[in-house]
């Protein structure tokens, strides 16, 4: 038979191939396209049925919730996905605020079934996972919310109001 070295190299290659296969196939099976509201609106035909992750600023007035059926719908406004740009524009809280008050921003209606999350309020950042329906509504299976926390405030509120 072959030398021990060949045997082990063969085993190693097989093992590597198995891991690569697992990575590639699992990536394909669970890939989520991370898009902004603008991109989603622009490519709505292409992305039908794909697993999409989209984030936007919650429009507080649009939130409608029925505690009986747990039906939840709201509208989000486009925010950029680029972190550097967010920093340039004065931080996440500011970017979210601008998105909500700007009437020309691209918007997206979202439907979700489940208890209304604690953090779903005006100017929160909503991260939704789901698919775009033919009716142009985004059907979210998963809904994550982030509020720009007080951690990120560099200056105390009391101080800001004193100026």
């Amino acid at each position: 038979m072959q030398s021990p070295r060949t045997k082990f190299i063969l085993g190693g290659v097989l093992m590597l191939a198995a891991v690569v296969y697992l990575i590639v196939s699992s990536t394909q099976a669970s890939a989520q396209y991370f898009m902004t509201v603008e991109e989603l609106n622009a490519k709505s035909a292409e992305v039908q049925g794909k697993n999409i992750r989209v984030s936007g600023a919650v429009m507080g007035d649009s939130v409608a919730y029925d505690p009986e059926t747990l039906g939840l719908s709201f509208t989000v406004a486009h925010v950029t996905g680029n972190n550097a740009e967010i920093e340039l524009q004065g931080g996440l809280a500011e970017v979210l605020h601008q998105a909500v008050i700007d009437p020309s921003r691209a918007r997206l209606q979202v439907a979700y079934t489940g208890p209304k999350p604690d953090l779903l309020r005006d100017e929160a950042q909503a991260i939704m996972t789901g698919h775009l329906g033919e009716d142009g509504i985004f059907y979210a299976d998963e809904l994550l919310l982030k509020c720009p926390t007080k951690y990120e405030e560099a200056v105390p509120e009391q101080a800001a109001s004193e100026n």
């Binding site: 990536t27 669970s30 991370f34």
Partner: protein
């Protein structure tokens, strides 16, 4: 004043670390031991100095000096003192200081050890530790000063280290307070555990680099750092488990692990560290895999720093919401530089790290250990790809593609299952030098057969309980193929491990005419590393049971209930009895539901799911949980807002077997203690004793 004092100490300690580096280098190259001794003493000084700085900051936190920005950020008047104190690691700059302080404690312990036989390592261990320390202190001094204070100037209020021109000290009346999600016992000890794990991995790395630089590339560095590695590993493991427990108790999503990038960042050094723990045994016993061990320890160090970076820089968005900061590039440069230098050193010493033996059989113990390493590295690859894939795909195609928990579960699941199986089989295999000379020239096929038969001969008895388990599971109606495979592997590995204890103890009790239990005790005492390892394996197996239970069999339902109505799930009936709302002492509003739990029409217990809203508006959902070894009934009162006391929405999870996960972690820790307990062996055993190692014996 105290704040300036603290910053001054930080600067002094930073300068001292630079001096330590210079003195160690000069002492080595100029062959002047007194300079190395001076470096050593300087390093010893860093611990008391940093203790002073940490105490200073802790005092500021405890007394609520909101003039200091860090104190303002993480504490508030309504917080109890123990939370104010532990807020030291509740924010970025404080936790960096805490990191440095732990690092100083560990390097002090190393510096105080007996160096008689390892003098040549000393300057390099000092160097590596001091470079690491200088880096973290540098972050504090130049980017993230925990002692920065608020100053009012014409432009407004901002935090500065030094008094700006025309600045007037500004003290807010109250602080922001620690994020309520972090006000949990698990969260108080989770970060220190993780940091202890991170920090103590620096020590094996320092010795590895010392071995590479000095060319003393035998297994001495591994023997010195064996316990450090175990300690690092157990703390890291504990940190991970505590983080999981915290998520389970506080985050209110019925889970314990979400494959969040930050979780993965802490998990990756654990993977390489675990691989390292196993593969060093091959080097000690057989003088093989020397390059591999170096690669693993270098990778672990890089991943430790990378993990701190990910948790502290905000590059990746995750639930571990820390603000972004300027320290990202600094981390990047440091990781890159140390990695390149380490790899260069490894290549330079490549030839002196040649293996002393050769692997012959695929079924020999060293081959199975190698397989274990490959599996861990496979999981590492999966994790790494998962974390970086958004960045890669964005660069390659412009589309940002992310992968979620299903990716990790699908890709890593088979490898975890293989690890569980291997954990059972590997102890049955023999070290590959049984009768090397006879076998070396033999037909390869013939040899594989002999090794495989050796395992099979020991395997058939413990395999019986595994087969019985499989039959029992099928009879119980379980048809989930993954759960069946997983639980069968678990049963097999458990019975082999217990069988190993039994086999060895019985042999000893016969040979020494001892009582069985005494024999078991003495056996484990003689070979703590081996039997401690087996106990750790048992702990991991129990944890696997819990993970299989919650991953494969978790069920959930959600519904709005009127008073008197109930939800039924997995045989339990949860009835909504009443609701109360009150203000707690610390100012948060508590909304608490009373739920009766019935099973088969019989009342079992009451649960109190809660919904707290803190003064700053931060809500927190605390589940009502009934825990037994069979399952957890996990009831959440979700989002109270806008709902009358007559009707409230609830979410109920049924998490089978999840408590085995927590139970297993205790056994795991016990096992590590056994394995790491100091031996009675004289410390002066000749380092090269391995040369004349005896042939394999059972119980070796």
């Amino acid at each position: 004043m105290l704040a300036d004092f603290g910053f001054a100490i930080l600067v002094i300690t930073f300068v001292l670390a630079i001096y330590t580096i210079a003195a160690a280098l000069y002492g080595h190259f100029a062959a002047q031991p007194k300079w190395v001794e001076s470096a050593r003493l300087a390093m010893l000084l860093s611990f008391p100095l940093l203790t002073l700085a940490a105490l200073d900051l802790t005092y500021l936190l405890a007394t609520g000096d909101f003039n200091v920005k860090f104190v303002y950020e993480v504490t508030s008047l309504d917080m109890p003192t123990y939370l104010k104190v532990t807020a030291l690691w509740g924010g970025q700059s404080g936790s960096l200081l805490f990191w440095s302080w732990l690092m100083a404690a560990f390097t002090t312990a190393v510096t105080l050890r007996k160096w008689d036989r390892d003098r040549e390592f000393l300057p390099w261990v000092i160097l590596v530790s001091s470079v690491t320390m200088a880096f973290f202190l540098g972050l504090n001094v130049f980017f993230e000063n925990p002692f920065a204070r608020f100053w009012q100037t014409f432009e407004g209020v901002a935090a500065y280290t030094f008094k700006p021109e025309n600045g007037i000290a500004f003290t807010p009346e109250n602080g922001n307070g620690l994020n309520p999600l972090l006000r949990h016992p698990g969260m108080i000890i989770h970060p220190p555990m993780l940091y202890l794990g991170f920090v103590s991995f620096v020590i094996p790395y320092a010795f590895a680099i010392a071995a590479l630089v000095t060319g003393r590339t035998d297994d001495r560095w591994i023997r010195i750092t064996r316990r450090w590695t175990l300690v690092a590993w157990v703390f890291l493991s504990l940190g991970l488990v505590l983080g999981g427990r915290w998520a389970y108790d506080v985050l209110g999503w019925g889970g314990y692990w979400g494959w969040d990038p930050v979780e993965i960042a802490a998990f990756m050094p654990w993977l390489t560290g675990t691989a390292f723990l196993h593969s060093v045994m091959i080097q000690e016993k057989r003088g093989m895999l020397k390059h591999w061990n170096m690669i693993l320890v270098i990778l672990t160090y890089a991943l430790v720093v990378f993990g701190t970076f990910l948790t502290r820089s905000g590059v990746l968005s995750s639930v571990h919401a820390f603000a972004k900061s300027a320290i990202g590039p600094a981390f990047f440069i440091f990781i890159g530089a140390t990695f390149v230098i380490s790899v260069a050193l490894l290549i330079y010493r490549w030839d002196s790290l040649k293996a002393e033996g050769q692997m012959h059989s695929m079924f020999s113990r060293e081959a199975l250990f190698l397989l274990n390493n490959l599996l861990f590295m496979g999981i590492l690859g999966i994790c790494f790809w998962g974390v970086i894939s958004p960045l890669v795909s964005e660069l390659a195609t412009g589309a940002k593609v992310t992968v979620g928990p299903p990716y990790y579960e699908r890709a890593a699941g088979p490898l975890f299952a293989a690890l569980v199986l291997l954990m059972g089989i590997a102890p049955l295999s023999a070290w590959g030098h049984v009768s090397l000379s006879n076998l070396a020239n033999q037909n390869g096929m013939e040899m594989e057969k002999r090794y495989a038969l050796g395992i099979a001969r020991l395997l058939w008895k413990p395999a019986i309980p595994a087969v019985l388990t499989l039959i029992a599971l099928l009879l119980l109606g379980i048809r989930n193929i993954y759960a069946l495979i997983g639980l069968t592997f678990v049963a097999l590995t458990t019975s082999i491990t217990l069988y190993e204890f039994w086999r060895a103890a019985r042999a000893r009790s016969r040979a020494q005419k001892e009582n069985f239990f005494l024999a078991l005790w003495r056996l484990a005492g003689r070979n703590r590393r081996r039997y401690g390892g087996y106990v750790i394996h048992l702990g991991v197996i129990l944890m696997a049971i819990g993970i299989i239970g919650i991953e494969m069999f978790q069920t959930e339902t959600q519904q709005s209930l009127s008073v008197g109505e109930s939800i039924t799930l997995a045989g339990y009936t949860v009835q909504y009895d009443s609701l109360a709302q009150f203000q707690a002492e610390d100012g948060r509003w508590v909304t608490r539901a009373v739920m009766s739990v019935f099973r088969d029409g019989k009342f079992i217990t009451e649960l109190y799911p809660r919904y707290d809203v803190y003064a700053d508006g931060q809500p927190m959902t605390i589940p009502g949980v009934r825990s037994t070894l069979a399952d957890d009934l996990y009831v959440l009162l979700v989002n109270w807002e806008g709902v009358t006391s007559q009707i409230a929405p609830f979410k109920v999870y049924h998490n089978p077997l999840v408590n085995w996960l927590w139970l297993g972690s205790f056994i795991f820790i016990a096992g590590t203690l056994i394995a790491a307990w100091p031996d009675e062996e004289p410390e002066h055993a000749p380092a090269r004793a391995r040369k004349s190692r005896p042939a394999y014996q059972p119980g070796d």
